[in-house]
């Protein structure tokens, strides 16, 4: 569901770029998958306050195409996690440029931690 708008934007961007002049054309692509095992000693909520580090695989994607005047840059980080990020940048130099950004920022306050006050407090 999340990929749909980005995928459509990528297709519409790539079609005119591919027909661009062959001069200075550069295409770079990279994909990385990092297996992770997380062992937290302390507050899990604080450790993952703004991120989602847990056991599993974390993926990153980078695609870059530069045809001199026209360019296109797609980056994705922590794909499939709660703090995933997608960025699409492109344009025609001297004419127009666009930047689409989707960044999930989780904010964890607790993760099953017990409250610091037990019993019934009262106001003096």
């Amino acid at each position: 569901m999340l990929f749909k708008p980005f995928l459509l934007a990528m297709i519409f961007t790539l079609v005119p770029l591919w027909s661009a002049s062959a001069q200075e054309r550069t295409a770079i692509g990279e994909f990385s998958a990092l297996p992770m095992q997380v062992d937290v000693k302390g507050s899990r909520a604080k450790f993952n306050e703004y991120r989602d580090l847990r056991d599993g695989v974390s993926g990153n994607i980078g695609l870059r195409y530069d045809a001199g005047k026209d360019y296109f840059d797609f980056r994705a980080g922590d794909v499939g996690r709660r703090d995933q990020k997608y960025e699409l940048e492109g344009g025609s130099r001297g004419n127009f440029k666009f930047h689409l950004d989707y960044d999930e920022i989780p904010h964890n306050f607790t993760a099953g931690d017990s409250p610091s006050v037990r019993g019934k407090p009262f106001i003096r």
């Binding site: 703004y50 001199g68 005047k69 130099r93 001297g94 407090p121 003096r124």
Partner: protein, 306 residues
């Protein structure tokens, strides 16, 4: 014989003037430009990084590549070539030792002056502090926006106090890469003491924290005045980026009125079998939960209880 000698004597100064007397700059073409290929001969590594940058794109109208290549920024190289690469011959180098910030920035502004985000550069704090474009940007390499390092590392190189604050327990998600310095600050110059992107501190904060804006039936005046009355922007060792611990942050103003009028000390709050809630959990916020403003009816709203 006399006539021949006179002709020879008049030809010699002419030759000196039009030929032998030519400076190296004039000999190598218009204004002493030798071309990027000549530069590449010696500075191959620098040339490679230049070719990776946006400056080298021929497709961009007005790019250095469409002008004089390397010499668009570094100046004519004929004299430099003539003296076998010797320094001090008019080659402009973006070095602190050789050129001052004003001269270096002027080189960049020769092309970039009409850029929208540089409209306020003349009143920028960075400019007034003697920072030039090349402190953050590189003319070469293919990094994003030709930055020397990604944010926030680049900003933290100088702003070490802010880096320390970012690493405190309660912080904005800057070190997690979810928020950039340029998300709040206009690094090329703007209004306000810290070049904020908003008209005021509150207007900037409300862009993300919209629920704190109100309007409320029962507003909390310090909130409307300035978020920084209670919070610090980059990081704090107190929860919620507070500038001091609860309840002291409330006690800064509420010192003699309401309940209680006695100071919150360890003697007051930790004595007895059951501790008071003044120092525990969310302290004052245990009851006054809507601290930024309330729309609750009657005194419960007025006292920001609900």
């Amino acid at each position: 014989m006399m006539r021949k000698a006179r002709v020879v004597l008049s030809i010699v100064p002419m030759l000196l003037f039009f030929g032998g007397g030519l400076s190296p700059q004039e000999a190598s073409g218009s204004d002493g430009i030798v071309g990027s290929e000549v530069c590449k001969g010696c500075h191959e590594d620098r040339f490679k990084t230049y070719m990776m940058s946006t400056h080298s794109k021929k497709a961009i109208p007005g790019s250095p590549e469409n002008k004089d290549g390397c010499e668009s920024c570094h100046g004519p190289g004929a004299a430099h070539v003539e003296k076998s690469g010797e320094g001090g011959v008019g080659i402009f180098i973006f070095s602190k030792r050789i050129a001052d910030a004003k001269a270096k920035t002027a080189k960049c502004l020769a092309c970039h002056s009409e850029q929208k985000d540089l409209s306020f550069w003349d009143m920028a704090k960075h400019k007034n502090e003697g920072i030039s474009c090349d402190n953050c940007h590189t003319l070469h390499s293919g990094t994003r926006k030709n930055l020397k390092a990604p944010e926030p590392d680049l900003c933290n190189t100088c702003h070490k106090d802010v880096r320390a604050q970012q690493n405190r327990t309660s912080h904005h998600p800057i070190r997690e890469g979810k928020l950039k310095c340029t998300g709040c600050h206009e690094h090329h110059g703007g209004f306000g003491p810290t070049q904020l992107k908003g008209d005021s501190v509150n207007e900037l904060c409300y862009q993300c924290h919209a629920e704190k804006r109100g309007p409320f039936m029962w507003p909390h005046p310090p909130v409307d005045e300035n978020c920084l009355n209670c919070h610090v922007p980059h990081g704090s060792n107190h929860n919620k980026l507070l500038n001091s611990r609860m309840p002291q942050v409330c006690r800064n103003c509420h010192d003699v009125s309401r309940h209680p009028s006695t100071p919150y000390t360890s003697f007051e709050t930790f004595k007895g079998a059951t501790p008071s809630n003044k120092m525990f959990a969310r302290s004052c916020l245990n009851c006054h939960g809507n601290i930024h403003g309330s729309n609750g009816p009657s005194t419960r709203g007025k006292t920001l209880v609900r």
